[in-house]
């Protein structure tokens, strides 16, 4: 049953990739490859209110995928479904599947804690633990039961987050003394420390100044060489700068969110197929 549906999802993904291939030239264009995660006819309710309707979306591995759309269309809800963060909300209900490497993460008996150890998350407002910089990065591996040398792991994570040089002499200092941009990079390091395959970012730069934002965007491109990065952003220029693929969401009249278009960023921003995408991107929406 699982394999069949997985096949279906891959086919959808490949079909979409082919569609993109057909449009314009493909020189230097990001290729699709095998998706690391896919949403398959996912619908989500908070109590009686439907927040997402029938979302089908492949998420390519080792690429940056941006999810854009007007406020309230359900982007945050969508991205939180990918690591089961929505489980923390009591009235949350799910139909459909979210596949991670072929396995439905909402399957019965699957521990959401395990899911969150493979799929990391960075939040909108930097939220480091009120502890030392070292402790922030070491916390995750420690509670997983990491048995190796924590010092090395902390350094690796901080290096990968482009923060090591700035904090290597002040590891014992409290994380809250760092600047906003540094705190966010620390949160990225914290997510990297548990060695996930996917990193989710929910508007990671919206609380930061432009310089810090650009640093993090550069970081995202670096990280995309090893991880799948999924970013929710309301800043279209950021999506255009940073993402290989872009998914566009809209809010239906009954306020449920749905997927409108998915494709290569270049195509979405120069020649979108759906009129709703065109209207949203050119700012003539609403």
């Amino acid at each position: 049953m699982m394999a069949e549906e997985r096949e279906q999802a891959i086919q959808i993904g490949q079909h979409m990739a082919q569609l993109s291939e057909l449009q314009g030239d493909t020189e230097g264009e990001p290729t699709f490859g095998e998706p690391v995660m896919e949403m398959d006819h996912l619908s989500v309710w908070y109590g009686g209110f439907q927040a997402l309707r029938d979302i089908t979306l492949p998420l390519p591995s080792r690429r940056v995928t941006a999810i854009i759309g007007p406020s309230g269309c359900g982007k945050s809800t969508l991205i939180r479904c990918l690591n089961r963060m929505n489980d923390l909300i009591p009235s949350f209900r799910v139909e459909g599947q979210v596949l991670f490497e072929g396995q439905d993460i909402y399957a019965r008996g699957l521990d959401p804690v395990d899911v969150r150890r493979r799929i990391g998350m960075v939040f909108q407002k930097p939220n480091p633990f009120p502890k030392s910089i070292y402790e922030n990065v070491a916390f995750g591996p420690r509670i997983i039961g990491y048995s190796g040398r924590l010092d090395d792991l902390v350094e690796r994570a901080l290096r990968r987050a482009a923060l090591w040089d700035e904090v290597k002499d002040i590891l014992r200092r409290n994380a809250l003394t760092l600047s906003g941009g540094q705190q966010q990079r620390l949160c990225i390091a914290r997510a990297l420390a548990i060695e996930p395959e996917v990193i989710l970012m929910d508007e990671p730069c919206s609380a930061l100044d432009p310089v810090a934002t650009l640093k993090i965007e550069d970081l995202m491109r670096e990280l995309a060489e090893s991880y799948a990065i999924i970013i929710v952003t309301h800043n279209m220029q950021q999506a255009a700068r940073v993402a290989d693929f872009t998914a566009v969401m809209m809010m239906a009249p009954d306020r449920a969110g749905q997927m409108v278009e998915f494709g290569r960023t270049r195509q979405i921003f120069t020649n979108p197929r759906d009129k709703r995408t065109e209207d949203y991107i050119t700012g003539r929406f609403g």
Binding site: Q23, G24, M236, Q237, A240, F269, T270, N271, P272, T277, E278, I281, T282, G283, R284, F285, G286
Partner: protein, 221 residues
């Protein structure tokens, strides 16, 4: 409707381009009139007015640049501005070709023509029509019309071949006509280039509508 300011600026830029196209069409018509009527004054007017066409292009270009920098246009807005940027270059070059024809009218001056001009005005008429229609296609974002106009370029090319062969025959027959004939070949060449530039404009219109850049005017050679 949001983006009022942007829409207004974009509309203004397109208006400017239509005015520029009008000026180019006038230049083409007048240059042929000057040639046919041996009107050196009119020819000099066309030459002088070309400066204004060039200026229009630079103005439009600056406005496009400003709009890109300040408004970050995307999707169809972006394609529109990029199309306009290219089209004003084509229009300016067309203006230069019309100026070239006027210069020849000055050089030929008051001399009576070898024979009545038939094909050259015909070429000019077709080119003018093509130009007018291409701007219509742009205004209405009509890719089909644009493609149809491109096909008409063959007519102009055929007329050019005809003129060329005729003048060649004349030159072989009477070597005294060589200087005159070569100037007239040059006029025909300018008109052929004008029509060619119009096909560029049409390709841009197709790009605007479909988002694809295509080579539509394939040479028969």
């Amino acid at each position: 409707m949001p983006r009022n300011v942007f829409d207004r600026h974009l509309a203004e830029i397109q208006e400017e381009m239509l005015v520029m196209a009008d000026m180019v069409e006038t230049a083409i018509q007048r240059s042929l009139e000057a040639l046919k009527g041996r009107d050196v004054e009119l020819a000099r007017q066309v030459i002088a007015d070309d400066v204004k066409i060039n200026q229009k292009r630079y103005d439009a270009e600056e406005r496009c640049l400003e709009l890109i920098a300040t408004q970050q246009p995307l999707a169809s807005d972006l394609r529109t501005i990029v199309a306009v940027l290219h089209m004003i270059v084509d229009l300016e070059r067309m203006g230069d070709h019309a100026e070239g024809i006027a210069k020849i009218a000055v050089i030929l001056g008051d001399e009576p023509p070898l024979k009545p001009y038939v094909d050259l005005p015909r070429m000019a008429d077709i080119a003018s029509e093509m130009l007018r229609e291409s701007l219509e296609a742009f205004k209405h974002r009509d890719a089909e019309q644009a493609r149809a106009i491109i096909d008409r370029d063959d007519e102009v090319d055929a007329l050019y071949d005809q003129v060329y062969r005729e003048l060649l025959t004349d030159m072989i027959g009477d070597p005294r006509t060589i200087e005159r004939a070569t100037y007239l070949i040059w006029v025909a060449h300018n008109l052929e280039r004008i029509a060619d530039r119009v096909t560029n404009i049409c390709e841009r219109v197709v790009f605007l509508v479909t988002g694809k850049i295509e080579e539509l005017n394939v040479s028969k050679y």
